[in-house]
Amino acid sequence: MALLQIKRDVCTGCGLCIQVCPFGALSLDSENIIVVNEACTGCGACVPECPVSALSLPEVEKKETVSTDEYSGVWVWVEQFDGRAASISWEMMGEGRKLADKRGTILTACVLGYEAEPIAKQAIAYGADRVFLIDDPTLKVYRTDPYARCLVELVKKYKPEIFLLGASTRGRDLAGAVATYLYTGLTADCTGLEIEEGSNLLLQIRPAFGGNIMATIKCPNHRPQMATVRHHVFEMPAPDESRQGQIIREKAVLLEEQIATKVLDLIVEKNEVNLADAKIIVSGGRGVKGPEGFTILRELADVLGGAVGASRAAVDAGWISYAHQVGQTGRTVRPDLYIACGISGAIQHQAGMRTSKIIVAINKDPEAPIFQIADYGIVGDLFTVVPALTRALKRRLNK
């Protein structure tokens, strides 16, 4: 994280720093005071050169422990993209509400974006008592630096006890930066959150070793206790439009010229799958035997109005793209119906789909672990069973 801080009232305009900057990022403005442009990498070469100590870099805080009593309240970061909140954020609001009630404290949503007030109002409907809204053009699209700096300043000012973020690509990107700045604990990808009796600490439960074990993690002496939470693990709460809450507006920390990254475009592939939102998923594994095998899975998915998923084995073999991968290192899904075809059901795969409402397993091997977590199973060759199921469903659904 780059970003030189300049005390404008201290700078004498001597220009010594200009010569030492390896990136040509410094110059004098019309008032003969140093300004920094986006070429600044935060290398710090200029800081000791300044005779009047007008230059500094934001320090990563190094405190041994904090006085934990000063921290209270549960916070949720509400992720938005293109003016819409991510569903994972509302799942966390539901869970955050329970934690806040248990601690007898309030639930706060942090909404960062541009023209994002509708999202702030939604956050109240989903359970927030208070919303911090930072509405600024620099926050329209997610970027690590401006988002992280805003959250860091909010935490320093208002001192929450618990801070939850979604374990999406943005949430994980952001949480790692924020927790490092604050020197506090961060637990990734939690699937369970509880308050410990007596200590009132947050117990953060998460899979590790490829889903083989569940670890419970605490953050006893640092605050806030931060966690990212896996998508589709917690129930989506129902919004209540009549709920009342307070919206507090705060200012963005960085100016556009202080931000070294720019988002230029978003490339969306045609036929791009959105597994996370699919109600029905037909998934294939090693037993599908090749890219052609996915054709019959796709036909079944089409009849059901569902999406096609895959195990890591099928993706690693190059039969289908990574966007389809379900499991520990792929997407976590929670569809109403998950049909696993030719998937043995390794623990890594189960970690991504075990919370599906109904699981159907179609596999030649009656000993495959997938049958242990399935609701319905057919032991047989998927190349005959799947087309037969497609025909049967077509018939019964009159399609």
Binding site: A2, A39, C40, T41, G42, V60, D82, T144, D145, T169, R170, G176, A177, T184, G185, L186, A188, D189, L203, P207, F209, G210, N212, I213, M214, A215, T216, I217, K218, C219, N221, T261, K262, V263, D265, L266, E269, E272, L304, Y322, T329, D336, L337, I347, Q350, I358, I359, A361, F371, Q372, A374, Y376, I378, V379, V385, A388, L389, A392, L393, L397
Partner: protein
């Protein structure tokens, strides 16, 4: 061009089994490997070197045997490798790990890009990369699936990041830290020549004394988080009903009937 790659030696989690009676991990006989995502990071750094010249340095923090992961990276083609190993580093969580690695990187000196894998397959956190970038106060580009352009003169990079909605095209300043996903390349295998070179390679070990670290911020002492319990995942409720029938058609029809009765198919 100087690229630094941070790697981790991990147990091959696809080989890890659970002792069903004691509910503990059986790690005996489980091979230690380079975290698979990190091999893509090494490959991308090697490709930059082949295109622009320069040097690739690989570092890891771990027990003394983690040197084997570094040797494998040298066999793939890395120029230099450094092992960070000290009992004082043990028990580090992602915060203390990122702190220690960032101090080692400062000691190494100038660099243009730092590469990491998107996450390690044992911890699965994906937090160490962003932690290192924040400690070093450089920009981070996570989940990168393509480096579209890189200009070491103008200190500029353009990448594609794999996000939920598609691929995000991002421009940033160098130096920066990149975490890579599998789509970015196909890692090479070590060559015979490379393996020979790795056997002879001098790989220094840096301890806490060699680094400008605050002893209160490394290892378990420096770690804000504590693992307090390990358990096996709870079994999923529900018993599997195996659909029987005279023929595949009959089985399929029976299943279709049951699924429609569940009212989950419209």
């Amino acid at each position: 061009m100087h690229a630094i790659v941070c790697i981790k030696q991990v147990p091959d989690t696809t080989e890890v089994k659970i002792d069903p009676e004691r509910g503990t991990l059986i790690r005996d006989g489980v091979p230690s490997i380079i975290n698979p995502f990190d091999t893509y990071a090494i490959e991308e750094a090697l490709r930059l070197r082949e295109k622009f010249g320069g040097k690739v340095t690989v570092i890891t923090m771990g027990p003394p045997q983690a040197i084997n992961a570094l040797k494998e990276a040298v066999a793939m083609g890395a120029d230099e490798a450094i092992l960070l190993s000290d009992p004082a580093f043990a028990g580090a969580d992602t915060w203390a790990t990122a702190y220690t690695l960032s101090r080692a990187i400062r000691k190494i000196g100038d660099f243009d890009v730092i590469f990491c894998g998107r996450q390690a397959i044992d911890g699965d956190t994906g937090q160490t990369g962003p932690g290192i970038a924040t400690q070093l106060q450089i920009n981070q580009l996570t989940y990168v699936c393509k480096i579209s352009s890189i200009d070491f003169e103008k200190k500029r990079i353009e990448v594609e990041r794999l996000v939920e909605e598609g691929r995000e095209v991002v421009q940033s300043a160098l130096p920066c830290l990149i975490t890579v996903v599998k789509d970015i390349n196909q890692p090479r295998y070590p060559t015979i020549l490379g393996i020979r070179r790795a056997q002879k390679a001098q790989i220094p070990t840096w301890t806490a004394k060699d680094l400008d670290v605050d002893p209160k911020l490394i290892g378990l002492d420096g770690s804000p988080t504590r693992v307090v319990k390990i358990a096996t995942p709870p079994p999923r409720a529900g018993k599997c009903e195996i659909i029987q029938g005279e023929s595949v058609e009959e089985q399929a029809d029976l299943l279709a009937e049951k699924l429609i009765a569940e009212k989950i198919i419209i």
